[in-house]
């Protein structure tokens, strides 16, 4: 074919577009290099020092898990020093060294906490339990804690998924159909701002069990932000996208599933994140107010016994659990919206 040569000028080689930066922020200069290689062994030594303090300095009143604390601290220290010695060239060390300063700071912090509580008693009991007492909670109250975690998750996840699904469906309908928008949107705007926890007394009255009431409230708190953001996402899709699809022979079903929903998906995820945050709040309040199980109930129960170590222990577990769920949602979002980054990373 007699194709003019200059036609090719616009067609660059596949390397012509943005390339991913390997391994995050590049270390620049001597300071960064030093930090990368020195921070981990230094942190390791700090942990070993923390272990020495725990083991050698006698407690004011004997705690049953002081030895375990010292062993764990020594374990972390040996692990860090060992990784600096034997894994320095492995990719995993890059991750460890990135948090090297954090490891060091944690060792100092825990030692200070240990000294101020168990070793000197400067910070008084029962409000300031020493680290080994929280360790004791995890070793001695493990079955109750596991049961509470399971209860909380069994309440949270079905409620959240149900709310996400209902909110998404409602949002798509409101964003797409003018008549659904006419009736649905005012309800969304009027009832939506009510915190789901405000429904608590009414929900506990109407539902057959506190469990179903709490599930309903968690679903409600998730559904509203998801519905609002999905509908606004759907209704702000540029009309040119629809024009293109219509000329290409798309029917309404195609326009909704293949144009409107994918275009609105970034918004849907914003709603899902907001919903997840408020569902945590509803979960804990519902468990404190009526549901006789779960981490919220555990907090309440621990407070009743003035068991502050159990309170802190449960708070740490909740932080780990909820931040993991948020990370999971981030992961799902990044997989589904990979096109937003402009770089395919599988």
């Amino acid at each position: 074919m007699n194709k003019p040569v200059q036609v090719q000028t616009d067609t660059a080689t596949p390397t012509d577009f943005t390339l991913p930066v390997e391994g995050g922020v590049p270390a620049d200069g001597l300071v960064a290099r030093l930090r990368e290689h020195v921070s981990v062994p230094v942190a390791g030594l700090l942990w070993l020092g923390a272990a020495a303090v725990s083991a050698a300095w006698p407690d004011q009143t004997a705690w049953s898990r002081t030895t375990l604390l010292a062993i764990l601290q020594a374990g972390v220290g040996i692990g860090l020093v060992g990784s600096a010695l034997f894994l320095a060239r492995r990719p995993v060390f890059k991750v460890i060294s990135e948090y090297g300063l954090w490891f060091g700071a944690l060792a100092v912090l825990i030692t200070a906490w240990e000294v101020l509580t168990a070793k000197t008693g400067i910070l008084p009991l029962p409000f300031f339990p020493p680290p080994q007492s929280i360790l004791e909670v995890y070793t001695d109250d493990v079955s109750r804690l596991l049961e509470s975690i399971a209860h909380s998750m069994l309440l949270l996840l079905p409620g959240y998924l149900l709310g996400g699904l209902v909110g998404f469906t409602a949002g798509v309908s409101i964003g797409w159909s003018k008549s659904v928008h006419y009736w649905g949107y005012p309800i969304l705007r009027f009832v939506g701002p009510l915190p789901a926890t405000a429904w608590l007394p009414i929900a506990f009255f109407f539902f057959p069990s506190t469990f179903s009431a709490a599930t309903f409230l968690i679903a409600l708190s998730t559904a509203f932000p998801v519905a609002v953001l999905t509908s606004s996402g759907i209704s702000t899709v540029t009309s040119a996208y629809y024009d293109i699809a219509r000329t290409l022979g798309a029917d309404t079903r195609f326009l909704i599933t293949k144009v409107a929903i994918p275009a609105a998906l970034p918004n849907v995820f914003v709603g899902l994140f907001m919903g997840l945050g408020s569902s945590f709040a509803v979960l804990i309040v519902a468990e404190m107010m009526g549901v006789k199980a779960g981490l919220g109930w555990y907090l309440q129960w621990a407070q009743g016994w003035a068991a502050y170590a159990n309170l802190y222990g449960a708070l740490i577990i909740m932080a780990l659990l909820f931040s993991s769920l948020i990370s999971l949602l981030f992961y799902v979002r990044d997989r589904m919206l990979v096109w937003q980054k402009g770089i395919v990373r599988w």
């Binding site: 616009d10 000329t247 293949k258 395919v344």
Partner: protein, 264 residues
């Protein structure tokens, strides 16, 4: 290189004949009526390449949307091969000034859009690769649109319509946003695609040179509401050259028709 359309032997059969008869159109904005088209009439022969030339915002793009079937004219009739146009159809396809690729789909998935929408993707998946090859984007098939340059994105948009083997291509200033070098390249490319595939082309532009380089006939429009104020036949063989004396004469003639003699 693979030709997508039937061979040029049945070119006359493949290109659509477009008849625009006394078309007037208006929009309602804030209770006021905004007239955009006023008694527009013209005919485009099957397989022809014509340009609609006029000042920016005069209503040419509206006319293109009416021919595409995306909107219905308030008055008058538009026909394709003698049949009145009442809605969009994959035989009449638009390319906009913006490539408007779907950012969540790869280039290949964007090009496959029309076949997917009509449920033909299973049998005709090979056409997607052929179309990508035709516009020189095979190496970028699995890339997302936000990684493409402006020219490449517009090529992808072209492939997205060409894969459907249209009989009428409606080009709404498709090269308007491109830099001048890319623009020249793409003009040659458009011409080549039209010559190979033999569809009818209607190009909306406000660039006199572009109209002269590409089309066989230029229909000149007035300011809004757009009326046809002249028709100029471009009797030059392809490829055309800007410094050809006949080209210069025709340019002067076109500018005079547009009332821009003082620009010379």
């Amino acid at each position: 290189m693979v030709a997508l359309a039937p061979s040029s032997a049945d070119a006359a059969l493949h290109g659509l004949k477009v008849q625009v008869r006394n078309v007037s159109h208006a929009f309602d904005t804030n209770g006021e009526q905004l007239d955009v088209l006023d008694e527009v009439s013209f005919t485009v022969q099957p397989g022809a390449f014509i340009s609609l030339l006029g000042p920016s915002g005069c209503g040419k793009s509206t006319l293109l949307r009416l021919i595409a079937g995306l909107d219905e004219p308030r008055e008058g009739k538009i026909g394709a091969n003698g049949v009145r146009i009442v809605g969009p159809d994959p035989s009449r396809l638009l390319v906009f000034q913006d490539p408007t690729l779907y950012p969540w789909r790869t280039v290949r998935q964007n090009v496959a859009l029309g076949l997917e929408a009509r449920g033909l993707i299973r049998e005709q998946a090979h056409r997607v690769d052929e179309a990508l090859d035709l516009v020189g984007l095979s190496a970028f098939a699995d890339v997302f649109p936000n990684q493409l340059s402006g020219g490449m994105a517009q090529r992808a948009a072209l492939a997205r319509v060409l894969v459907n083997n249209p009989s009428l291509l409606l080009l709404d200033e498709p090269l308007g946003r491109l830099d001048s070098l890319t623009r020249m390249t793409m003009q040659a490319e458009l011409l080549r695609l039209w010559q190979d595939a033999a569809f009818t082309s209607i190009l909306v532009t406000h660039d006199v040179e572009e109209a002269l380089l590409l089309s066989q006939q230029v229909i000149v429009f007035s300011h809004r509401p757009a009326r046809v104020i002249g028709t100029v036949d471009i009797d030059l063989p392809y490829p055309r050259h800007r410094d050809d004396p006949r080209f210069v004469t025709l340019r002067r003639e076109l500018l005079a028709t547009m009332g821009l003699e003082h620009q010379l």
